[in-house]
């Protein structure tokens, strides 16, 4: 720690401060509600290619030579502000930007300045503003950032009924999902039909598919960084919605005007209200719901300090007589922003994450429950140093203490159940990182960084060693905080952007990532009963190397295209021995196999952001494979999520101020799956005979959705108090009706395919496909005042 601090001090001293330079810094906020604007641009008219962007807290810092300039503040969808400034000394300028009168389309996917996608060093980055996707049709009308982001190139939804997603051939547990910096260990509600993220409470979503900046680490495929709204600092506001499945309500208010605010957002489903109306006692007693709460408060203390507290609490409950199943996440983030000076911004966060599931069986004195849980205490200390007009650095430290409870069991009566808990596992994951964004010249931008991560597996507990057959060969006891395995992984990162001209660029990136947590699943897909495991003497860290190359071009009239190719190699990925049992198994590590993965592909994306018709087309051609000594004779085989073709088309048409139409079309190659290639008879029963893992395919998936959103009139007629004339004034009450039909042409997409003895032709076998949805109409009402 001491050395690290010394390093920072050294860095500070060695910055080549040029006396003729001045720094302007400050914050940029939305004038209507005081929310920080993320990625808003500060430009200087006289100095093309010079500029700065606000960070996630709305802070910017720009260093330029002394002089008289026209400084422009710009953010898409907002009116520019320009100032002519005679800059002789360092200056703080805090700005609030107002909504633009310019008519934009119904969709603004990136809340960033124009051409930022071209010049930034961030490759393989998808940004989404939850506000701007509300017209995209979705299942049951529940707008959902995870479902919408899966319509982007390189991102795959795992399928209907599964909230997990795969990024560039990675598995679902290789995505780091952060909510205000807190890892979310299970992002699904209602067995995967919805994500845990309530769009009403979210401000910004960024998904890094590659080129992951050095400040992020811990997963090898992607980082999804979700930022909650801060709450309106100007006035009290309420928004909400009523849907077929759930209702939402959000309250936001200033604590002290322009100094602090809070937001509270809640959501609950009500399928169980209908089950209570049933005449059947069994169904009446069925529990089936989820709820979640997002809360955040922030307060500005003086000019230099700001504190935030935010949290998420959500729970799913599902049960019938004698059986109950519930799961949920809790996250809490306490954060302190400090501006040391106009060039150095610091952020300290204390983060708590908790995920657990619990299954209850039986009633009264013959009841018992078992479950699994992961708890994190997480400390982050990050700096952003706008060192000069050429260098912008990020550096910091991070330490996470993990506690994993692989199997906890509780019984109402000890005579009934004798099982004891599987021992807890502990680990300390820590990292130091530094990254530098370098403007080399007008055309060349570069990011280099390194993250040094380490993991120490800690006692106390009995630690097992296994033979090749998975049987325990040795048991060693380790005391409290005694280390039984440790790993250090350097994770270099680099990205280069070469601007061909103002509107087009080439980018390249290289990325190494390490992962010390691993998700074990008892089924072939993500479920709430999946168990997180720490790296240990048996489970080595997973790691990946990825390179990506891209071409980006913006056209006039709001068109934009991009193409990226990527190659990703993964090491020590986990799979299962045949017949592996994951739940409540103290020696589950003996049932695992370790191998390699590789994924490569090309992603193409075209978007139209302006005019009445907006939307995008995305296409991914890819291959994802795995290799294990123990599976398919050590040959490469397709991973379950290997999808050759993946197409999404999203179109939104704004007919007038009150009506927007929307449509999606999705097509992808069916997932790889293991099917039998023969059968045999044992004890008079048919048994499937398998020849290889993932040797077959589901049928191709495709689906179309349509929607319409009807807005209320934005203005009303009122008498001018002075003249008595009728005038149009803006309504405070905003509302809309959203109608949609999911799977409008009723395609029966396979949810499962199973095999059974034919009913029509006994003595033979037939394949049976189960499809979950044909057309699903839905209606949602949203309001805001």
């Amino acid at each position: 720690m001491k050395n690290y601090l010394a390093a920072i001090v050294l860095l500070l001293i060695s910055s080549n401060y040029r006396a003729q330079d001045v720094t302007i810094s400050g914050t940029i906020k939305d004038a209507s509600n005081g929310e920080d604007l993320i990625g808003a641009a500060v430009l200087v008219k006289e100095l093309p290619n010079v500029g700065a962007l606000t960070n996630v807290y709305g802070f910017y810092s720009l260093t330029i030579p002394k002089g008289k300039y026209t400084v422009i503040y710009r953010y898409t969808g907002f009116s520019n502000q320009e100032f002519v400034l005679n800059l002789e000394k360092d200056t703080t300028i805090n700005i609030e930007l107002s909504d633009s009168d310019e008519v934009l389309g119904p969709l603004v996917i990136q809340g960033e300045s124009e051409n930022e996608n071209i010049s930034s060093t961030e490759t393989s980055l998808i940004k989404l503003n939850p506000k701007d996707i509300e017209a995209v049709p979705v299942l049951f009308g529940e707008k959902d950032v995870l479902k919408t982001i899966a319509l982007m190139p390189g991102v795959q939804s795992q399928g209907e009924g599964q909230a997990g997603f795969n990024v560039r051939g990675g598995s679902a547990d290789q995505n780091l999902i952060l909510l205000d910096g807190a890892p979310v260990y299970n992002a699904s509600h209602l067995l995967g039909f919805f994500s845990v993220f309530n769009s009403d409470a979210l401000k910004d979503v960024a998904l890094y598919k590659g080129g992951i900046p050095a400040e992020y680490g811990g997963r090898i495929s992607s980082v999804m960084d979700i930022v909650m709204k801060e709450g309106n600092t100007k006035r009290f506001g309420v928004s909400g919605g009523l849907g077929l499945i759930s209702s939402r309500l959000t309250i936001e208010s200033p604590i002290v005007k322009d100094k602090g605010s809070f937001i509270l957002s809640g959501r609950r489903t009500y399928a169980d209200i209908f089950t209570r109306l049933s005449s059947d006692e069994f169904i009446q007693n069925a529990r089936l719901y989820f709820y979640d709460m997002n809360a955040k408060a922030n307060y500005q203390i003086g000019e230099k300090d700001r504190v935030f507290v935010s949290g998420y609490f959500g729970r799913d409950r599902f049960g019938v007589d004698g059986f109950g199943f519930d799961w949920g996440n809790i996250t809490t983030t306490a954060r302190w922003n400090h501006i040391f000076n106009n060039k150095l911004f610091a952020n300290t966060s204390f983060i708590y994450s908790d995920y657990d599931y619990d299954i209850e069986i039986g009633e009264d004195d013959e009841a018992f429950s078992f479950g699994s849980r992961i708890i994190d205490f997480n400390l982050k200390h990050d700096y952003q140093w706008y060192a000069s007009d050429k260098h912008s650095l990020k550096f910091g430290v991070n330490a996470i203490y993990h506690t994993v409870k692989p199997g906890d069991v509780e019984a109402s009566n000890a005579d009934f159940i004798s099982a004891s808990n599987i021992e807890d596992r502990y680990g300390l994951e820590s990292a130091v990182y530094i990254g530098d964004d370098i403007k080399i010249n007008k055309r060349l931008n570069m990011m280099i960084g390194i993250r040094l991560s380490s993991f120490i597996a800690l006692g106390e507990g009995n630690i097992y060693s296994y033979d090749a057959g998975g049987d325990v060969t040795d048991t060693t006891y380790y005391g409290k905080n005694e280390s039984y395995a440790n790993y250090i992984m350097p994770e270099p990162r680099a990205a280069v952007t070469y601007l061909l001209n103002e509107t087009s660029s080439f980018k390249a990136s290289y990325n190494r990532n390490a992962q010390y947590l691993h998700l074990l699943s008892n089924s072939t897909t993500s479920t709430p009963t999946d168990i997180w495991m720490l790296s240990s003497n048996n489970i080595k860290p997973q790691s990946s190397d990825q390179i990506a190359l891209g071409y980006y071009k913006n056209f006039d009239k709001g068109y934009e295209i991009s193409t990226e190719v990527y190659y990703k190699q993964m090491y020590n990925v986990i799979d299962y021995k045949t017949g592996a049992d994951v739940n409540f198994n103290a020696t589950v590590e003996g049932d695992l196999v370790y191998g390699d993965g590789r994924a490569y592909g090309i992603e193409m994306y075209a978007k139209k952001k302006k005019g009445p018709l907006t939307g995008w087309v995305s296409y991914t051609l890819s291959r994802t494979e795995r290799q294990f000594d123990e599976i398919n004779q050590n040959s490469w085989f397709p991973a379950r999520q290997d999808r050759t073709h993946d197409v999404s088309i999203v179109a939104l048409y704004k007919l007038n101020d009150r009506i927007t139409f929307s449509a999606n079309w999705i097509y992808y190659t069916g997932n790889a799956v293991t099917f039998p290639s023969g059968k045999y008879m044992l004890e008079g029963n048919l048994v499937n005979y398998y020849t290889e893992r993932n040797g077959y395919r589901f049928p191709d998936y495709h689906r179309g959705d349509i929607g319409m959103t009807l807005y209320n009139k934005k203005t009303k007629t009122a008498k001018d108090p002075e003249t008595g004339e009728d005038i149009e004034v803006e309504r405070r009450w905003e509302s809309n009706w959203n109608f949609s039909v999911y799977n409008v042409y009723g395609r029966e997409n396979a949810y499962t395919i199973s095999f059974r003895e034919s009913e029509t032709n006994p003595g033979t076998t037939e394949a049976v496909q189960l499809a979950l949805f044909k057309q699903v109409p839905s209606i949602t009402y949203n309001f805001k005042f």
Binding site: S418, A580, Y689
Partner: protein, 259 residues
């Protein structure tokens, strides 16, 4: 859990749709299938040899005739198995002993296959009980059956239950290890099915070793479509054959349902 998810989805929210589709499957090479049991029950000592078939072919599996089959216990007693009917090999002198290992040898087509299994010490059904359950949306009216037994504390036990209802064999898998109930007087509840008034129900409780138990779990996963990784269950047979060699410690009780 998948089943429950399906239940919830199907029953409460939507009309899902099921249909028969064509799935083009490869025809795997035929393989030798060995189903061999040695038990304390004189009626359950046999080796059944057949060949696997194409997945969409009719369920007529070729019996393997003319193989050389024998079973040897760990005291060196050797029992040659004679072909009683095509594909079925038996020896009336063979009765399994508790706490004894057995090794099976099959020579077919000049290839030798071997497997070793263990008959654990016996655990008996103490009592069979049943309880009336009224009809609900998820089950018909009927009796739920319970088997009470005492699990030995000093060993890890693996049990399989088999039900015969009025002479009809129930194909479902009823498996239980003692992970949650070691050393306790405990109950196995046959929740998956209910019985009618007057049914004559026979329950076999079979103790097996860990390898055979895992194999049965694998068969259960295949029959229900569950598990982390579908595949052929890990067998105790050495050699390129399917099937298993099971050492069974069998206890049997029966009850007539009166509700």
């Amino acid at each position: 859990m998948r089943y429950l998810a399906g239940l919830f989805i199907v029953g409460l929210l939507l009309s899902s749709c099921e249909k028969v589709i064509d799935v083009d499957l490869n025809e795997a090479e035929q393989k030798l299938v060995i189903e061999a049991v040695v038990s304390n029950d004189t009626a359950q000592n046999y080796v059944n040899l057949s060949l696997s078939g194409g997945f969409y072919a009719t369920n007529n599996f070729t019996a393997v005739e003319g193989a050389a089959v024998g079973i040897e216990d760990d005291n060196g007693n050797y029992f040659p198995m004679a072909e009683l009917v095509p594909g079925v090999y038996t020896n009336s002198g063979l009765v399994g002993e508790f706490n004894t290992s057995y090794t099976l040898t099959v020579i077919y087509d000049n290839v030798t296959y071997t497997a070793t299994t263990y008959i654990p010490s016996p655990v008996n059904i103490d009592t069979l009980e049943y309880e009336y359950v009224p009809a609900s949306s998820f089950a018909d009216e009927g009796a739920i059956l319970f088997a009470n037994f005492t699990d030995p504390a000093n060993e890890t036990n693996y049990y399989r239950f088999k039900i015969t209802d009025n002479g009809n064999i129930d194909n479902a898998w009823y498996l239980r290890d003692d992970g949650f109930v070691n050393g306790l007087e405990t109950t196995y509840a046959f929740f998956q099915r209910s019985f009618d008034d007057g049914d004559f129900v026979e329950v076999e409780m079979i103790g097996v070793d860990a390898t055979v138990f895992r194999y049965f779990e694998g068969l259960e996963d295949i029959s229900t479509g569950q598990g982390a990784a579908p595949g052929n269950p890990t067998s105790n047979i050495m050699g390129d054959a399917l099937g298993f060699f099971g050492g069974y410690a069998v206890d049997r009780k029966s009850v007539v349902i009166d509700i």
